[in-house]
């Protein structure tokens, strides 16, 4: 991604939609542009309020043909589709669409130009992103169709916009509290302020924990913390979606299988397979594809000793052993086999300092140490906060 040096220096940004394309009508034109703003605000702490053009909004959007009072004339069908000015006063942020283009919405590929997709791209400029050389990115210069019904903002664009506003938030505001929302001039869709990101040392439990690429990750809600190799402290909170955009609603369990070079996340009844941060084909899939009838895996851990992966469901105290492609026949079994391990475990991990001699079970903010060779728990109910988080 490529950014401009000066993003908007505020969190509340106003915009107007001054006219509409008759090819879609007013309602669909507004729907396309409103939703394009929502794409960006779901990854950075910006609030977009639509106002009337007479209120001198930060971002003015309109449709025009040919010359339209700036130095880039539109050129009829094809060629220029639209353009936008980078953040700033006056014309800064303004976004113009070529009215001559065959505007469509949610009509699939090869049917004109989808206004929602072009609007996401142009508003990326209006927020400070330049064109990206990543051809998969929405900020690539040439129009390319992306699924608009289940639109997922490409990774490159997420990293780009968060490099502008993710730091902006922490730099400008106390990182322990979100910026106080200004009194909304009109009722916003959800006037409930974003909950402030949790503090790692104050968490009473964790959704998932695992070593990934030999770095320790802790997941809670939409956030994650990361302890790099050789470090004792964690960086974060980071949005999980900044690495894995498909997981913006959080995860229940995660494990890495270094031999297959896969990182697998579970959330409710689905699982996603990644190579690093690249989503592998067929993901997400229902857990029944791996033989688990109902969903919600609470913890998962891969064993180097036998190459198997173990899935734990907390509330029922069962576990499954997963081999190649599906869980093994005579499972689930009771977790009592892992004698001494807690029943409704929240998370499990192994691979500490690269060794897989022990499995660590975490429940609440306590942890248990299980010896993978003696097949028994050797330490019980220790303080995870003291021993791992160094709070």
């Amino acid at each position: 991604y490529v950014t401009v040096g000066s993003p908007w220096q505020k969190q509340l940004i106003t915009y107007s939609i001054n006219n509409f394309t008759p090819k879609l009508g007013k309602k669909l034109t507004h729907e396309a542009i409103d939703n394009a703003f929502k794409v960006w605000s779901s990854f950075v702490p910006l609030q977009f309020d639509k106002v009337d053009a007479s209120q001198n909004p930060d971002i003015v959007t309109f449709f025009a043909e040919g010359f339209h009072n700036d130095n880039t004339n539109f050129d009829g069908v094809g060629g220029y589709l639209a353009h936008a000015f980078y953040p700033g006063s006056g014309i800064g942020g303004d976004t113009h669409f070529d009215g001559a283009e065959p505007w469509t919405l949610h009509q699939g590929p090869n049917k004109g130009n989808d206004l929602f997709l072009v609007a996401v791209h142009e508003l990326g400029h209006a927020l400070g992103l330049q064109h990206s050389p990543d051809v998969k990115a929405i900020m690539a210069p040439v129009y390319k169709y992306h699924d608009t019904k289940n639109f997922v903002l490409p990774q490159d664009d997420i990293l780009g916009i968060q490099s502008l506003y993710g730091n902006f938030w922490f730099k400008l505001f106390d990182s322990t509290k979100p910026p106080r929302r200004p009194a909304a001039t009109q009722p916003t869709i959800s006037s409930i302020p974003e909950p402030s990101p949790p503090k790692l040392c104050e968490l009473s439990n964790y959704d998932a924990i695992s070593f990934l690429r030999k770095e320790l990750y802790i997941f809670k809600g939409k956030y994650m913390w990361r302890r790099k190799r050789g470090k004792t402290s964690f960086s974060g909170p980071l949005m999980i979606s900044s690495f894995w955009p498909q997981l913006k609603n959080g995860v229940d369990a995660v494990y890495e299988n270094p031999t297959s070079n896969k990182i697998v996340f579970f959330k409710d009844h689905l699982f996603w397979e990644f190579r690093g941060t690249e989503l592998l084909p067929q993901s997400p899939r229902h857990v029944r594809h791996i033989g688990m009838q109902n969903g919600k895996v609470d913890a998962a851990v891969w064993w180097q000793r036998n190459g198997k992966t173990y899935f734990f469901k907390g509330n029922c105290g069962y576990y499954w052993r997963y081999g190649v492609g599906r869980v093994e026949e005579d499972y689930p079994r009771s977790i009592s086999v892992w004698n001494g391990a807690p029943a409704n475990v929240d998370a499990a991990f192994s691979g500490v300092d690269g060794s897989h001699n022990f499995t660590y079970f975490v429940k609440g903010n306590k942890y248990w140490v299980f010896n993978n060779w003696e097949i028994k728990t050797v330490k019980t109910s220790l303080s995870f906060v003291d021993d791992w988080l160094k709070c």
């Binding site: 130095n71 060629g79 589709l81 639209a82 353009h83 000015f85 051809v135 210069p141 040439v142």
Partner: protein, 93 residues
């Protein structure tokens, strides 16, 4: 290579492609002055290779079919290159 690829193509396509490189910031606008064009053949070829790289094409430095084809696709009017912000001159609406 550059001369060869130019002779193969008709002048209208060459003109279109050269305007594309200028419009999207790969070549400074004044490179279009004919007197200087030959002296800057190398910069055209270099600019072309740069555009091809940005768009994920083989960097031939030539006006080849794949390059001309992608130049004809509908796109955003903003420049690709940071240095030439052609549409940023204005400040007033």
């Amino acid at each position: 290579n550059h001369v060869k690829s130019r002779t193969k193509r008709d002048s209208a396509e060459i003109g279109f492609a050269e305007s594309y490189l200028v419009n999207y910031g790969y070549v400074p606008p004044d490179s279009l002055q004919s007197g200087r064009a030959n002296a800057e053949l190398h910069s055209w070829s270099k600019a072309l290779a740069e555009m091809q790289k940005f768009h994920g094409l083989p960097q031939t430095g030539e006006f080849d079919d794949a390059t001309i084809e992608i130049m004809k696709k509908p796109r955003c009017a903003n420049p690709d290159k940071v240095s030439v912000k052609t549409n940023l001159k204005r400040k007033k609406r």
